[in-house]
């Protein structure tokens, strides 16, 4: 039986990818951030999930304003690295798991989640930066990935509650799959940040700290946080935090926190990372 054993939530700031790709991890600006990622990489070297289901948002790479899916699941064999305006990152392509991805798509739709099923899906920093954070710079990614693209850049994103419930449905579907597989679910984006407007640069460390503290123990409460509160407290781009609840919903009720890191800034963002193991 396949099982969701691990949950990872992490920011996916593009500049983190640039720092990794250009070997800047030890520079004074970046060192404090990457020191905190060391523990995640060590943990991952042991955990070695077979499949990662990675919830992220596309940032005008695969999708544009002509068509905006709320939830899109990638069922392809392979996902190319997107050109986001300065050439694609020089990293390996991402290999999918079409059989399991189709099982998820079918299960989720029959479970009344209105998925968009996508085959042609270049993946951008939203997906690739979390991969780099926990896997570093391997020749090939040692895991198969099922991308789950969530709209958060067109208002309204799915609610926190809907994301949490999607995670729970993902857990049910994975556990119906008859192959022995260890699955990790990633929720990415956040933490507090605002890229735009006169309030650009917004960071709310008390809010982020509380979010990290409550994610393991009080996910149902976080599922009730409204878009308005997220926009106000976490910033206009901090609303990405709804995707962390997909991960949390996919985990067991009780979880064990195995690693946590929080640092300001990574570019214009408060960067957070938290890892759970199921019980």
């Amino acid at each position: 039986m396949a099982e969701v054993k691990f949950g990872v939530a992490t920011s996916h700031v593009p500049a983190i990818g640039v720092a990794i790709d250009n070997g800047k991890e030890d520079e004074p600006y970046w060192a404090p951030l990457f020191e905190g990622y060391e523990g995640a990489r060590k943990w991952m070297a042991d955990a070695r999930p077979d499949v990662v289901i990675l919830a992220y948002n596309d940032h005008a790479s695969a999708f544009d304003l002509s068509l905006i899916p709320t939830f899109a699941i990638g069922v392809a064999d392979e996902f190319p690295i997107a050109d986001e305006g300065y050439g694609p990152r020089d990293i390996p392509p991402v290999f999918g798991y079409p059989e399991l991805a189709w099982h998820l798509a079918e299960s989720l739709i029959l479970d009344e989640f209105d998925m968009t099923i996508v085959t042609d899906l270049p993946v951008d920093h939203g997906l690739t930066v979390p991969m780099s954070i926990v896997y570093g710079k391997p020749e090939t990614w040692p895991v198969r990935v099922i991308p789950l693209a969530v709209n958060v850049i067109q208002y309204p994103p799915p609610t926190a509650r809907r994301c949490y419930d999607l995670g729970r449905a993902i857990r049910r579907a994975v556990h119906q799959w008859d192959e022995d597989l260890t699955v990790a679910v990633f929720g990415t984006g956040g933490m507090s940040h605002q890229l735009q407007g006169e309030r650009a640069g917004w960071v709310n460390t008390p809010f982020d700290t509380s979010y990290l503290n409550r994610l393991g123990s009080e996910p149902e409460a976080l599922a009730e946080v409204t878009h308005t509160e997220l926009l106000k407290e976490a910033g206009s781009e901090g609303i990405e935090l709804v995707m962390w609840l997909i991960m949390r919903g996919a985990m067991s009720r009780e979880v064990r926190e195995v690693h946590r890191h929080y640092h300001v800034p990574a570019s214009n963002t408060a960067a957070g990372l938290i890892i759970f193991e199921g019980t």
Binding site: A15, Y29, H59, A60, S61, D64, L65, S66, A82, D83, E84, G85, Y86, G87, I153, Q154, Y155, P156, S192, H193, Q194, L195, Q196, G197, E198, R199, A200, G201, W202, V203, N204, T205, T226, H227, T228, L231, K232, G235, S236, E237, V264, P265, S267, N268, A270
Partner: protein, 122 residues
């Protein structure tokens, strides 16, 4: 037809990209989207004015692009993830853009972030 459809997001200094913004900024954002393609970046580099002629921008949107007025682009329906493609094209940083939108220099903005970001506003 004065239906107030959205919950009020009355957050100072913050532009929520809702349906009204989507409609207003459609051509502007779709123009930015084309910069994902290398050949289009070359064409934009060769002649920005001629490149913009291919899109149905308002005169204000056009000027905001040519002048790299990031805040004005937002006001005219720009979405930061789209308009930032112009900044990426220029090779300028998110701190430059954030500084310009909030009325400070890039260095001041960078230092503000290092100091823990903007913790209060308005």
């Amino acid at each position: 037809m004065a239906t107030k459809r959205l919950p009020q997001h009355d957050i100072p200094g913050t532009y929520v990209f809702d349906g009204a913004h989507h409609r207003k900024g459609y051509a502007l954002n779709m123009m930015c989207m084309t910069l994902n393609v290398p050949e289009n970046r070359d064409a934009f580099r060769a002649d920005e004015e001629a490149y913009l002629d291919k899109f149905d921008l308002t005169p204000e949107q056009r000027r905001s692009v040519l002048e790299r007025d990031w805040l004005e682009m937002l006001r005219l329906g720009g979405n930061i993830y789209y308009t930032f493609k112009i900044a990426a094209f220029d090779g300028v940083s998110m701190q430059h853009v954030g500084g310009q939108m909030s009325g400070i220099t890039e260095d001041e903005f960078t230092q503000m972030m290092i100091n823990g970001g903007r913790n209060s506003f308005g």
